[in-house]
Structure formats: structure tokens, C-alpha cells
Amino acid sequence: MLIIRCPWCGPREQTEFSYGGEAHIARPADPDALTDAQWADYLFMRTNPKGRHREQWLHAFGCRRWFNVERDTVSYRIRAVYKPGEEPPEEAS
């Protein structure tokens, strides 16, 4: 069971949060300009990396705010937590 550091509330038990899938999927500015395949890519296709993954979490039983987490999908170690709009941490070289 993870401890997740909500950027507003601090470290809290995983059970207070809900998971929101991959982060940084921007809604296309002009959906009509996209083909069906491009739209489907935005809607459905997600990376499924082994290792570092940037994802959205919601502090559902807390401040009800969304934020981003960079988590290792193998070790479950959380490498970084950052607010929407903030820059993600640098890629490790």
C-alpha cells in the first residue's frame, strides 16, 4: 500500500486516492481536424511502460484535487509528485 504525497495535503494513505491513468494527454485543440484514427489515438491509446510512468491521481477522500505522479511501474516507487501545469521532472540520463 503506497504512501502518496498530495501536493496540497502532504503524505497520505493510498486508500484516500483514486487513479486517473496516464498524464499529459492533452485534449486536441481542434477535434474536427483529426481523422477518426487520430481521434481514436487520443481517446484510447495509452503507453504501458515498464518503468517510469507519469500518471494522474485524485485525492478523492481529501482535497478532491488532481495532480501528477511519476511512478515506477516495476518497483511502485514514486519518483515525483507535481501539480497540473507544472513541469514534469527531468528524464534521468
Binding site: M1, D36, L43, P84
Partner: protein, 1005 residues
């Protein structure tokens, strides 16, 4: 008779002044306080405690702890039943009633033992090979196999006990209160760190509890028991240290989160038990020290499963700790020095030791020397290859081992106890559960903890450090380091000197599998006693092509069951490796999963049972509904009135009366459960435009509008009416079940996609109560109750809202309708709900105002063709499918819009919402019924769609239904058929989904 005929005259940690009576399989026995059920049975001379799982061979107690594979017992009866307890872990109490579980009809006469002569016909994978064919008979076989398979029976009545959970945080959690764990707790505790020390046994002390009273062993100059007492005294004096005995750390999860089951009163007689039976501690530890010890490894040889064959450490424990005179004459079989301690202890207790059979060529350590001096015959380069006996061991066959490992000349030795030791397996279970991978250590011939993944370290025997002095030192260091890592500094403590530890070095020489005897080549060599898995089964699995230990486990059942292979697994892996010609390290171990030992479901559930299982939500008017005959239905967590039954009324007559009141007079519904979201901010209209399919910017203050919400895939996810309260202020209603989902959805878009929008959402669902006053007479009721609002059609049109005062309470009144009738929804602060509701009832009394429930609400809306999201839609339905193009704006973007232009969502043969009229107006189609075009089509028939809503309509005096049908709108007027499970067929005609007042004149009145 006091405490059993096989009790030593003195010694042990039992209290001989406190005799206890108990029964086993209905026979009365006596033991002492401090006994386990296993030690009391052995002291009473009960050697056979079970029949084996597959071959129904007699089995005795093989171990003294959690690893016990055979002595599985059912305790007590009725509401106090505990199935599958391990007798070795059951503290004896007065009046204890225990039964063996694997025997049918009885342990002494086993009806299944006829199987034994056929055992050669039951190889590994027997069940897969035999009973899977013919497939249809598996259920019959399964019932018989389950009955014969030898585990306890689940209780038939609810558990009388209650359970609890608690959360704890600590700096250092120490698992295991043996020597290493005690040293760790002392070191960590002396730093001031918050320490929790958990131990599965009734008494802390671990292996120290089994040290013979006469042992020369000294710790810090003190006898083991004395040092233990002092150490515990010091720990108890530390305010930051909590000791939890009878507590098993059964799971090690992510984030240094461990679960510990504390058994609080299983050791007490039934009538003295009070409070919670078990408490699960959910511990967050900054640092963890694993000092769980090691489990002795049995040896695998012919007929190694008879009662009277047990682990050498267990034999020593029964003799030293419980004062059991285990046997008259013992043989010890070992491949290492540690079992010699047991031989010496047996001699000291007056039990003759006929021989130590040692597979090593030149046993030579100090403990071997001591055994020689004690006059024990030592047979080097020898192995036990077969045993004889029934309920009690009679003799063992010993053969010399030559350089090729084959057996030479044989010799039979009479004995009624065979104590075996194949070395030690560190209890790496929790380490492995933490995500780390144990590694095979060649020099110590065992799996030891690998690199830590979480903040944990192992110490002592569970780290492969078996010598007492080294284990104490490692424990102290681990405790100090853990405290240090948690931010504390432990004062330096002098190392503890140990003397008299004769078997400090085990000097083990591997013997994974003893050779078969020259006579009796079919003698079974058991690897897993609980599952009757033999060495031959593992070899067969390898021959049949199984190479992965995980597959061999599932094919042979190695390591299943209540003991999870604590005794047999490592031997099984080694035998597989040997058969495959591979290294043990390559074969590896099976996955160590929680739980370390079985945990009762009650402990996992805790208090989350019955009423406390899930929250119940009641509206502010709940008690009024109860007083007025409401029958409730669950809508999510809400309790909503379903209908109000008058005396003598059926559901049907009540619903009919309620519907007709709404259509002909006036009726009132508690609509408080609908989700309500307060929306404020300068960009609120822009936001609504994005989340609803229709346009919001031009909605005037004082007006309401119905909205349809889609997901980005274009599918309907919610609907409801939103009112514009002010220039930058709206209140949105959602479906009852969708309220939480919708506000999370909206927040997500606002926070992650459109943070530039200045919009603020607040859930106000429970702040307001809503009374829907519905029907042609509703205007009179509102006019009478709310004098400061003009309810005339011109002043207060359909889809408008007004502020007013109802019965002295400030109210927001919306003229909206979910029934198709003239209707008003009165929203007031929830605390005033009852007062306002009763005022409306008084005002409506002259018009026969009738409270109605959700069933009538459903009928009324279906008559009008209004959908219920989640009933008439299922996440695969677009607004176009519902015939609601009119609400889909072409002027703006909104969530899901692009998806409506996908080739699939534009298909003409998508399922569309239609009305259905059964040919026989008295027949109500079952909801969910499938629809077909041709009732004579071959099975499986092509299916057109299904019925989503179906009712008897009191307004039309006939049945009506809504359905989703492929290309449904073009099929208007066609006949479809609903074939039912009972073979009958209902004919129905496709119609418009609006059955009542398609022009909307009634709601617009």
C-alpha cells in the same frame, strides 16, 4: 493421571499446578496450562492425529509451530467453530474440544484407507488426468473429492466472535521475538525510537524457549531462560516499545505496510472470552527488522511420514519446553550438527537414543563429541531409508551410504521416535513478500534474503545466521541501524557473549533425497506431507515436461494447503533441480504470497459487517416516509420510497393509485437524492457549454434547461436540469446514482484540462431537500403554500424557476417535469424539509395530494418516453441513438462531440431507443428480454436488441415498454418477438417511445 501418561516428571515451561481438561475426537484428556493442543496430545500418548489427504495414511505431529502439516484440527462447534487450526499453535484451555478433520467416518477406522493399495495408480496430476473426463461429470467428482480431501468444515452458523482493525505507526517494527528479534528491539528501543515487537507465540523468546533447563548454554553469563526474562523486563521498561505476543505478521505490502493478526482470547476458555477475538494491526513502519527465525528442513526418505517421525527441533521443543516424554527409544537422523543437541536433550530427559544416523562421512563438531561422550552411538555415512509401524513408529531401516550415494548393507533399529534434521530454511517469507528476491546461498545450503527492496533488513536465523552469539550480534546491529535510518541514535551496547552453544556451526552436508531401500523400492518418500506429494511425483512431473517450479507446484499440489509448503517446498525445489540437472538457484522458489499463515475472514472483515458494511444515506424526510407506509428501495447508497402501501394494497395497486393521482390530481415525490452541484464563476457558462451537448450561454437568469452529458467517446453518461441562478451562478442536478461520478468528472476537466476557466464546483446534494409537486392540481397547491410567487402560466412558465417563501421557509421553486405533467420542484434547506413537506401535504389535502415513490416515478417518465441514464442507456448509447438530436448543438464544441462523427457512431443500424407495445396489452415484457425479428430463426437467433424499461401503464390501461433495437426508428410499426426462458414468445409492435402527450401540452399547462 495428571497432564498425560507421557509426561516427564519435571521440567518445561508448563504450569503443573494448573491441569486442564480437553477432548480430542470425543475422548477426554488432560494437559497443563502452557501446553499447546499438540504438546498435550503427545503427552497423552495420542500419536495419530490425521489421515493424509490423498492416500489416507496415518499421520502424527511433525512439527511444533506454524509449519505443522498434519495436525489440522477443528475446534469447538456451532458459532465458535474454528476449522483448520494447527494443533501446534492452539494454546490449551480448560474445556477445549478438538476434532481431527481428515478422517471419514472416524480417525480410528478410516473408510477411505481402501485407497492405499491403489496408491500407485494415483500419480501426480491424477485428478487432472482422471476426473476431467468426461467433463460433465466433474461436478460429481468434485463433491466426492472435496469430502475426501481432508480439511475442516466451514461453520454453519454466524461467528459468535467479533473482530477489529487498528492502525499503528512506528519507527521500527521487529518481527519475531527470538534472540535476534529481542536484541534488535532492545537496541532500537534504547534509542527512543517507537518500536513494535510482534511474535506469533504466546510467549516471546523463540528458540530460547526450547533450550533445555540443563543446557550449558549461557548468554551474558546467564542461562537462556534467565537472560530472556531480563531482556523482556528491560523491553517492558521502555515506554516507546510495544510488545504484541500471539500476533502474526502475515503480510508485507508496499510502502513498508505490514498486516499483523493479534489473537486476543483464543487461549481462554469460551466462557472467559470477552471483547474482540482478533485484531488486525495495519502497521506503517519506517524501518522493519525481520527476525522470524528459521524452519527446520525435514529429510526425504522411504515412509518418512509415519506418526513418531518429527523434526529434531520439534522433538527438543516438546521435551524441553512442554515436558513431554516423547518416546521410549529414539533415533536421530541428520545431515548436520544441530540435531545432536536434540539427541543430548533426549538423553538428558531420560529417553534412550539408540543412534544418531548421520549422512556425513566424518561428523566432528563439539556437539558430536558431546554426544559420543554421552554414550550415543553415531552411525556416520548412513541414512534412514525405510520405516515400519502403524499408529506409532516401530523401527527404522538404516543403510550405509557409499561414494555414489547408493545404500549398502542394511540394519533395522527399534525406536518409537525418529527425530530428523535436513538443515534449516530461513523464514524469508516476509522478505519475499516485500518485493525482494531470496537468493540461494551455496555455503549455507539454504535460501537467504536477497537485496532489500523496501526499508527492511533481516537478522539472525532468518538471515541464515544460526549461531546464537552471531544472531544476537546481528539482531542488535540491525535494531541499531534501523533506528538510525529512522532518525534515532542507539547508544553503543557491549556485545553479548555466548558460551556453551555446542552446535553453533551446523557443518551441513546436503542430502536432499535419501536412497530407496534395496527391498521395498516402492516406499513413498514424501516431500509435502499435507498434500501427499512424493519425490516420485516431482520426478514424474519433470519427465512429463514440467520445468518451471510454479508449474510443478500446480501439477503436483506441492506447497498448497494451510501450511503453504513451509516444510516441503525447499526440498521439492531441490529435488526438481536435481531431476532437471540444474542448480537450485536456477529453479528458484515459488512465489511467497501473503498470508504467512491462514487469517480468519472475520479478522479481515473487522467491523465492516452488516449495518456497517456500507453507509446508508437517508433523506431528511426518511422518518416521514417510514411513518406513512413507504416501502424502500436502494438507489446507490440511498434509501428511497419505492411506493407507499396502504393497508391491503399490493405493490401494483399502490403504484397505480400513485400514478393516477399524478395524472389526474396532484402527487408529491421526495426528489432530494438527485445530485446537486453549485457552479459559480465568470466562466461557468463556457464550462457548461463544454460539458453538455446543448448551448448554455444564452440561458437567462431565472430559467432552467435540461442537459445531456456525454463522455469523450460520445456516449451518454448523465442528464439533468440546470438552473441559472445569477449571471455567474448555476445549480446543476445530476442523476441520483451519478452524483459523485459527475462532480469528479467535472473537477477533472476543470483542474487538468481547462485550469484557465474560473469556475468553482460545490456539492450541495445534502444541503437541500427537494419536493416534486406533480399533477394538474399542483398549481393550486403551490399557490396556497407560497403566497409571494405568481404561479400563473404567463408569470412562471415551464422551465423557469422562482424564489419564494413556502411555509415561512426560503425556497427555490423550479417548474420542471419528469412526468410530463404540470409540476414544480420545491427546494429548501434540508433542515426545514419536514416542515415544508408537511405544509405542502396540508395545502394539497383538499386535492387529495398523494405521496408517490420511485416506481410510480419510473412509470410516469416511461409513459412520456423520458430516459433513465443507466437503465435505458448502458454506456454504449449516443444521443442520436436516443432520438435526441434536438439537444446536440452544431454550433460549439463539447466533450464527446467529435466521437459522434466517427464512422461507427454514424451507422444506421445502431441500436436506437423505441417504444414497444405488446400485442396482448395485459402482458408486461420482462426488462432485459432479447428481441428477434423471426421467431422461427435457427438458434442462436440473430438478436435485434433488448427491452430496457417495461411497466403496466395506469394512464393507458395497458402495458408499455422502451427498448434498444437495431435500426429501431426505421422499424416503427414492425412486429418483433421476445423469446423467453420458459419457451414462450411475446409479440410486440415497435412504436414511438412517447406514449402520453407527445405535444407536451400537459407540462406546459
Amino acid at each position: 493421571m495428571s497432564g498425560g501418561a507421557w509426561r516427564l516428571p519435571s521440567g518445561g515451561r508448563i504450569d503443573r499446578n494448573l491441569p486442564l481438561e480437553f477432548t480430542f475426537d470425543g475422548r477426554r484428556h488432560r494437559g497443563f496450562a502452557g501446553d499447546t493442543l499438540a504438546s498435550a496430545l503427545l503427552a497423552s500418548g495420542v500419536t495419530r492425529v490425521a489421515r493424509s489427504w490423498k492416500y489416507h495414511r496415518p499421520r502424527g505431529i511433525a512439527a511444533a509451530g506454524a509449519e505443522e502439516p498434519n495436525a489440522i484440527v477443528q475446534l469447538e462447534s456451532g458459532a465458535h467453530t474454528i476449522p483448520n487450526a494447527r494443533a501446534t499453535e492452539v494454546a490449551l484451555y480448560d474445556g477445549l474440544q478438538a476434532r481431527s478433520v481428515n478422517r471419514w467416518p472416524g480417525l480410528r477406522f478410516d473408510a477411505m484407507s481402501w485407497l492405499r493399495p491403489f496408491s500407485a495408480l494415483m500419480p501426480a496430476g491424477f485428478y487432472y488426468k482422471t476426473f476431467m473426463w468426461p467433463r460433465g461429470l466433474w461436478h460429481t467428482y468434485e463433491a466426492l473429492i472435496r469430502r475426501a480431501s481432508g480439511l475442516g468444515r466451514a461453520p454453519a452458523v454466524p461467528d459468535a466472535s467479533t473482530y477489529d482493525k487498528t492502525h499503528a505507526h512506528c519507527d521500527v517494527l521487529v518481527v519475531g521475538a527470538g534472540p535476534a528479534g529481542l536484541a534488535a528491539a532492545l537496541a532500537a528501543g534504547s534509542s527512543g525510537a517507537r518500536v513494535i515487537l510482534v511474535d506469533e507465540q504466546a510467549e516471546p523468546g523463540g528458540s530460547l524457549l526450547a533450550v533445555a533447563g540443563a543446557s550449558p548454554l549461557r548468554i551474558d553469563g546467564l542461562a537462556a531462560a534467565r537472560w530472556l526474562e531480563e531482556a523482556l523486563g528491560r523491553l517492558r521498561g521502555m515506554r516507546s516499545v510495544r510488545i504484541l505476543p500471539r500476533s502474526t505478521a502475515f503480510g508485507y505490502h508496499d510502502g513498508n505496510f505490514l498486516t499483523v493478526a493479534e489473537r486476543r482470547h483464543d487461549h481462554l476458555p469460551l466462557d472467559q472470552r470477552a471483547g474482540r477475538r482478533e485484531r488486525v494491526w495495519r502497521v506503517r513502519a519506517r524501518q522493519v527488522v525481520l527476525a522470524a527465525g528459521a524452519i527446520e528442513r525435514p529429510l526425504v526418505f522411504g515412509n518418512n511420514d509415519r506418526p513418531g517421525i518429527m523434526l529434531a527441533s520439534a522433538a527438543a521443543t516438546y521435551v524441553n519446553r512442554y515436558g513431554v516424554r516423547l518416546a521410549s527409544r529414539a533415533v536421530v537422523f541428520t545431515n548436520n550438527d544441530s540435531a545432536y543437541r536434540c539427541a543430548l536433550d533426549l538423553v538428558e530427559a531420560g529417553i534412550a537414543v539408540a543412534a544418531v544416523v548421520d549422512s556425513r562421512a566424518k561428523p566432528s563438531g563439539p556437539v558430536v563429541q558431546a554426544a559420543r561422550e554421552a554414550g550415543i552411538e553415531i552411525l556416520a555415512s548412513a541414512a534412514v531409508v525405510n520405516t515400519r509401524g502403524g499408529d506409532r513408529l516401530k523401527s527404522v531401516d538404516v543403510m550405509a551410504l557409499d561414494a555414489h550415494g547408493a545404500a549398502g548393507a542394511g540394519r533395522s533399529i527399534e525406536c518409537d521416535l525418529l527425530a530428523v534434521s535436513g538443515g534449516w530454511n530461513p523464514a524469508v517469507h516476509l522478505h519475499a513478500q516485500s518485493g525482494a528476491r531470496p537468493r540461494y546461498d551455496e555455503s549455507r545450503a539454504c535460501f537467504v534474503p536477497g537485496d532489500a527492496v523496501q526499508d527492511e533488513r533481516s537478522a539472525g536465523a532468518c538471515n541464515g545466521i544460526f549461531a546464537l552469539e552471531a544472531a544476537l550480534a546481528e539482531g542488535a546491529e540491525a535494531g541499531a541501524r534501523a533506528a538510525g535510518a529512522a532518525g534515532f541514535r542507539a547508544p553503543p551496547a557491549p556485545a553479548l557473549a555466548v558460551s556453551g552453544d555446542l552446535a553453533a556451526e551446523h557443518s551441513l552436508q546436503l542430502l536432499w533425497l535419501a536412497p530407496l531401500p534395496s527391498r521395498g523400492r516402492h516406499a513413498k518418500r514424501f516431500v509435502d506431507l499435507q498434500n501427499d506429494v512424493t519425490a516420485a511425483d516431482i520426478e514424474l512431473a519433470a519427465r512429463e515436461g514440467y520445468r518451471s517450479i510454479e508449474h510443478v507446484k500446480r501439477y503436483t499440489a506441492l506447497g498448497f494447503g494451510t501450511d503453504q509448503g513451509k516444510l516441503g517446498n525447499i526440498n521439492g525445489m531441490a529435488i526438481l533441480a536435481r531431476t532437471l540437472g540444474e542448480d537450485i538457484s536456477k529453479v528458484g522458489t515459488t512465489t511467497f504470497r501473503p498470508n504467512y499463515t491462514p487469517v480468519t475472514f472475520g479478522a479481515i472483515a473487522g467491523r465492516d459487517l452488516g449495518e456497517l458494511f456500507e453507509p446508508v444515506r437517508k433523506t431528511a424526510l426518511h422518518e416521514w416516509h417510514e411513518r406513512n407506509g413507504a416501502v424502500f428501495e436502494n438507489v446507490g447508497q440511498w434509501k428511497r420510497p419505492w411506493y407507499y402501501a396502504r393497508p391491503g394494497e399490493s405493490k401494483e395497486t399502490a403504484v397505480r393509485r400513485e400514478c393516477l393521482a399524478a395524472r389526474q390530481g396532484v402527487a408529491i415525490l421526495d426528489a432530494s437524492t438527485l445530485g446537486k452541484i453549485d457552479i459559480q464563476g465568470p466562466d461557468a457558462a463556457t464550462f457548461l457549454d463544454l460539458v453538455y451537448t446543448n448551448a448554455w450561454s444564452r440561458l437567462g437568469v431565472g430559467r432552467c434547461r435540461y442537459g445531456l452529458m456525454l463522455d469523450e467517446n460520445g456516449m451518454v453518461m448523465d442528464d439533468g436540469v440546470t438552473a441559472r441562478l445569477g449571471a455567474n451562478h448555476y445549480v446543476m442536478t445530476t442523476t441520483t446514482g451519478g452524483a459523485a461520478r459527475v462532480i469528479s468528472w467535472l473537477e477533472r476537466w476543470l483542474q487538468t484540462e481547462w485550469p484557465q476557466l474560473r469556475v468553482f464546483l460545490t456539492s450541495v446534494t445534502e444541503h437541500y431537500a427537494t419536493a416534486a409537486v406533480v399533477g394538474p392540481r399542483s398549481r393550486e397547491v403551490l399557490t396556497a403554500s407560497c403566497p409571494d410567487v405568481d404561479f400563473s402560466r404567463a408569470a412562471f412558465p415551464f422551465m423557469a424557476w422562482r424564489s419564494g417563501t413556502v411555509a415561512g421557509v426560503a425556497a427555490r421553486i423550479m417548474r420542471i417535469s419528469f412526468s410530463g405533467e404540470l409540476a414544480y420542484e420545491v427546494n429548501v434547506p434540508a433542515n426545514q424539509a419536514l416542515h415544508v413537506w408537511e405544509a405542502l401535504m396540508r395545502a394539497g389535502a383538499a386535492h387529495g395530494i398523494t405521496p408517490y415513490g420511485t416506481e410510480a416515478m419510473h412509470v410516469l417518465r416511461a409513459e412520456k418516453g423520458y430516459i433513465i441514464v443507466g437503465q435505458d442507456t448502458d454506456g454504449s448509447v449516443t444521443p442520436i441513438d436516443l432520438g435526441m438530436e434536438w439537444i446536440v448543438s452544431k454550433e460549439k464544441d463539447f466533450i464527446g462531440r467529435r466521437s459522434l462523427a466517427r464512422s461507427d457512431t454514424r451507422r444506421g443500424d445502431r441500436k436506437q431507443l423505441v417504444g414497444l407495445l405488446a400485442e396482448d396489452p395485459r402482458v408486461v415484457l420482462p426488462e432485459g428480454a432479447q428481441l428477434v425479428a423471426d421467431p422461427r430463426a435457427r438458434v442462436p437467433m440473430p438478436m435485434l436488441g433488448h427491452v430496457t424499461s417495461s411497466y403496466a401503464s395506469p394512464t393507458l390501461d395497458r402495458s408499455i415498454a422502451l427498448a434498444l433495437v437495431q435500426g429501431g426508428r426505421l422499424r416503427a410499426g414492425q412486429t418483433v418477438y421476445a423469446p423467453l426462458a420458459d419457451g414462450s414468445m411475446i409479440r410486440a409492435r415497435i412504436t414511438s417511445p412517447v406514449f402520453v402527450d407527445p405535444e407536451g401540452a400537459r407540462q406546459d399547462a
